[in-house]
Symmetry: C2
Subunit: 82 residues, 2 copies
Amino acid sequence: MPEFMDVHRNMVGITQEALRAAHDADLAIQGDESVDFKSAWADPESGLVYCLSEAPSADAVRRIHERAGHPADEVHPVPIRV
Amino acid sequence: MPEFMDVHRNMVGITQEALRAAHDADLAIQGDESVDFKSAWADPESGLVYCLSEAPSADAVRRIHERAGHPADEVHPVPIRV
């Protein structure tokens, strides 16, 4: 399954609890699109959040994040990994 | 040890072999700054590369990437993770 890195901006001040709640909202519906959100990393100062997932397409990632209430600003396939 | 996500742009066309070589160049000298580069993900189409590391500071990450020949465009602390 392809991997994707997506980026959320404007999340300044995000907390551990808020990131957990957002991630849980993704997990609750990700099966509808065969997406597997694996990890997310947040910088409360810059407001950047990075999410790593496996999914059939970038659009599937976008749809889950949108339905969960936090649309991604960018979704990038990352077919190369070390 | 704090975690950091750094971003390289303008890497359009990057290959698995090139990412491996760049990562190996980091690994060869990372001990000088107590940095641990854990994973990197690349999108050859957009030219974006994301690197996850543990390090004492963002500057330590910057110095290793610079000395290895591929300065980062952004280095963000990511103190929050799920």
